[in-house]
């Protein structure tokens, strides 16, 4: 059984990757789940998918429609009916037991898929469970890009694991993770996801048998095979990921530096306002204006504090998540390289044998390898395209959010200062009296 699709796939032979249909695309009529997804293929004005090396993709594969769908889903839920699996993570709660204290999150699932027994599920899961799910997905779908989880380890002294901000940040990341998995055309049908969403008690020892089955075909940690010719598009992917990680790292550093500078600015500002208050105490007529200025500065300080909190909570975690995402993607790319290397090696060996015994036919394991390579490549390509779209959306959202936070900060400050102008201009009645001295 091929590792990449739920149904078996006829071997397409040695075709260049561009001309190969996506495995799922070839099975359009056969696959029953969410037929609506497939129907949207050309009705939506999709733009041509361009591979990194510049050649256009012939087929309008479901991958592009699902990625389009993703865009729709993330932008607005107008086409809600086309989705049939909705998951949400919310309601964090603290659990205290004798051994440990931990947080659980409520996972709510709504679905019309036949794979699920019930249309609705509500379960409680903790981070460990999410981690388990991800590992399972990685192992069972090694040719796909699995979305990342928020950071696992937190230094106990540095971060308060139970603080509201930390829990909320984590919840958002977990929610995003599940949503991405649920929207993935292949991963969302994974049985582990199914149990994660529906089982009352996760039996974490379930996957062992499955694991061993898939293990041999996929575990090429030290394959020992040398890669001859990597297709250009995957090299481009690798390069892009390297450079992108760099840029993300720089942005993370800049954002942190800004937060630090803003905190220092805030500290000085908090000292600045009270001086005006002290001065107001010595003055008679200027008391009102000076106190007005002092209270205005206090308001600006509050606004700045909120800005810093928002940036810490919303901006930095998403950046870091993408860095993790990219790391896992690079690992998958590496796996793909190994699979290809193995195939090439076997092919060479078979060719040598063919020279010796021209009558011998191509051994089946070479064919299997070829299948694997082609499968892997196809999966990766489609996931890549989806990832690119997700990435554009995510960063658009992230940066727009950053701009929004700053705009809000300035608007609050503007309101404060504008409201103080009339206080400053207020002419006291005593002024006219002294003139008639």
């Amino acid at each position: 059984m091929s590792a990449c699709t739920p149904k078996s796939l006829a071997s397409s032979g040695q075709k260049p990757i561009q001309e190969m249909c996506h495995p799922l695309g070839a099975e359009e009529a056969v696959l029953t789940p969410s037929p609506d997804v497939r129907n949207i293929t050309s009705s939506i004005g999709e733009k041509d998918q361009i591979l990194p090396n510049g050649t256009p993709v012939e087929t309008s594969s479901p991958s592009s429609s699902s990625s389009l769908l993703n865009r729709l889903q993330l932008d607005d839920d107008l086409d809600g009916e086309t989705r049939d699996l909705f998951v949400t993570v919310d309601d964090p709660k603290k659990h205290v037991s004798t051994m440990e204290t931990y947080i659980t999150y409520r996972v709510v699932t709504k679905t019309t898929r036949v794979e699920f027994d019930l249309p609705e599920y509500t379960v409680r899961r903790r981070y460990q469970d999410f981690d388990w799910l991800r590992t399972k997905l990685e192992d069972s779908q090694p040719t796909h890009l699995i979305p990342p989880l928020p950071e696992k380890f937190v230094m106990k002294g540095v971060v308060d694991r139970f603080s509201e901000e930390f829990v909320e940040t984590r919840r958002k990341a977990l929610d995003k993770f599940l949503k991405r998995v649920a929207d993935h055309p292949v991963l969302s049908f994974n049985e582990h996801l199914n149990s994660f969403l529906s089982a009352k008690d996760l039996n974490k020892r379930q996957g062992l048998a499955l694991l061993s089955k898939m293990g041999e075909s996929v575990k090429y940690v030290t394959g020992g095979y040398k890669l001859r010719g990597r297709p250009v598009e995957f090299s481009a992917m690798g390069d892009y990921l390297d450079m992108f990680t760099q840029k993300l790292g720089t942005i993370d550093r800049i954002a942190q530096r800004i937060i630090k500078e803003q905190s220092e600015y805030l500290a000085e500002l908090k000292e600045y306002g009270p001086v005006y208050t002290t001065w107001a105490a010595s003055e008679a007529e200027l008391q009102g204006p000076l106190e007005g200025v002092a209270s205005c500065m206090a308001n600006c300080s509050i606004a700045l504090d909120e800005l810093t909190q928002d940036m810490s909570g919303d901006f930095l975690p998403v950046l870091r998540e993408y860095v993790l995402y990219i790391e896992s993607m690079k690992a998958v790319l590496k796996k793909r390289d190994n699979v290809q290397a193995e195939y090439e090696a076997k092919l060479e060996a078979a060719a040598l044998r063919k020279e010796e015994r021209p009558t011998a036919k191509v051994p089946t394991d070479v064919e299997k390898c070829q299948d694997r390579v082609e499968c892997f490549n196809a999966d990766l390509k489609s996931d890549w395209d989806q990832w690119q779209n997700n990435k554009t959306q995510d960063f658009r959202q992230l940066l727009t959010g950053m701009a929004d936070h700053n705009i809000q900060y300035y608007e609050k400050c503007l309101a404060a200062w504008e409201s103080v102008i009339p206080v400053l201009q207020d002419k006291q009645p005593q002024e006219t009296e002294t003139e008639e001295d």
Partner: protein
Amino acid sequence: MLSVSCLSALLLHTVCCLYIRFIFWLEILFIVAAPFSPSQIPLYTKCITRLKVILIFYILQGRTLILKDLKSHESLYLVCITQLERRMADAGNKESAPIGGDEFTNTELENNKNNTMVEEGSTLLRRMEISVAEAEKRTGKNTVNMQEIFTVYLIETRPIDAITEGHNPAPDSLWRRYSEFEILRNYLLVTYPFIVVPPLPEKRAEFVWHKLSADNMDPDFVERRRVGLENFLLRVASHSVLSNDKILYHFLTEEHRWKEVVHETGFQAKADSRIKALSATFRVKNPDKRFTEMKLYSDELQSLTSQLLRVRARVADRLYGVYKVHGNYGRVFSEWSALEKEMGDGLQSAGHHMDAYAASVDDMLEEEEHYADQLKEYLFYAEALRAVCRKHELTQYELETASSDLISKKQQREELATGMVRTFSFKGMTNKLFGQETPEQREAKLSLLEEQIVQGEETVTEKTVECEEYVKGAWVDMQRFKEQKDRDLREALIGYAVMQISMCKKGIQVWTNAKDCFHKM
């Protein structure tokens, strides 16, 4: 019969005239006594009309009993009218000076009574346009005969009459350096100790935040100093007392002889003793409570403004840091945009906005320096205020010393005269022990004492008058200062708020632009 009716008519006439003159005097008093306020112009216009009518009436009535009075009063009335009209015209004109309006205080009122009305009542600024137009570098030899570079400032003056007559003559001008301004101010400080003398801009740049140069040659510093010097001159020239000083006039008009002239006044010696007196410690028993309060206030003002300036500089520093780091976004967005296909354009433009954001802080903080300068002026003003209060304490102390001296001398005389020893004295003891002095010696002593007492009484009288006059003059000027301070600081705060508002608006603009770029990604 005819004589009775004539007499009664005459009487009636006299009474009428007297009554009219009474009203007349009331009007005059009102105009002269009340401070000029532009809002009262309509009233003044009515007054003037009435006065003119009455004057005509008087002229026509040339043959009345009051003719004699008329001759002396007429000129007075005429002068009043002229002055009033001039004041009203001035109030209508835009002032060339941004600060320093006329304050027609009680001091001026007294001056008005003492001198001719036309000369007083209009400060120098009314008659002359003053500005510090430029700054230039010069080299020269200093006091220890070493080469030095210094900056000179161009003072331009122009009589206002010359302008209003239609043509625009070139202003007279001369160059002065900062040290000459200092000499002028020191002269004013000793000559008018009861006045809160406007301060000069700082000698060296203080309360700097790190990007601002602390170098006296820095062009921004020189420019701000130029503005400060102009401000100083305008404040002095619009002060009702200071503006009439001859030395000030020389400073503005005579480039070369001025230094000799000012030194001939002998102010330097007084300046030195003044500095000693300011820092001396003495115990004054009965100072005017208001002055003690003012002194306390001046101390508070000094410490508060300096604290404010210090913190503000730190805040400016931090703000600069925040803005500049955003410039890094510009760079990384530009690099990133090279990697991307769809997002490239949006990122690139957003990066430019981030660069613009980072660059905008320089101008904003330069503008804020103006606010800092306004605060600094009042920091130094506080010093001047304190000096005025101290001077009062000094004069009061001198009075008290003179009084107690006089009292002890009188006591001594009494003792000598009556032979009764009231207070313990060594002389008394020795007298008792070793016999008294001869009558001749006593007589000599007594006459000496009498002389001293007479002198002492003169001194006490002088000092009392000095003290009273000082208190009067100083109190008036301190009130004027207080009003000016309230006005100026209020305006400074408004200016600061306006600056902050503009900064917020710019911030909103930039981030909105960036947001649009992000949207288009």
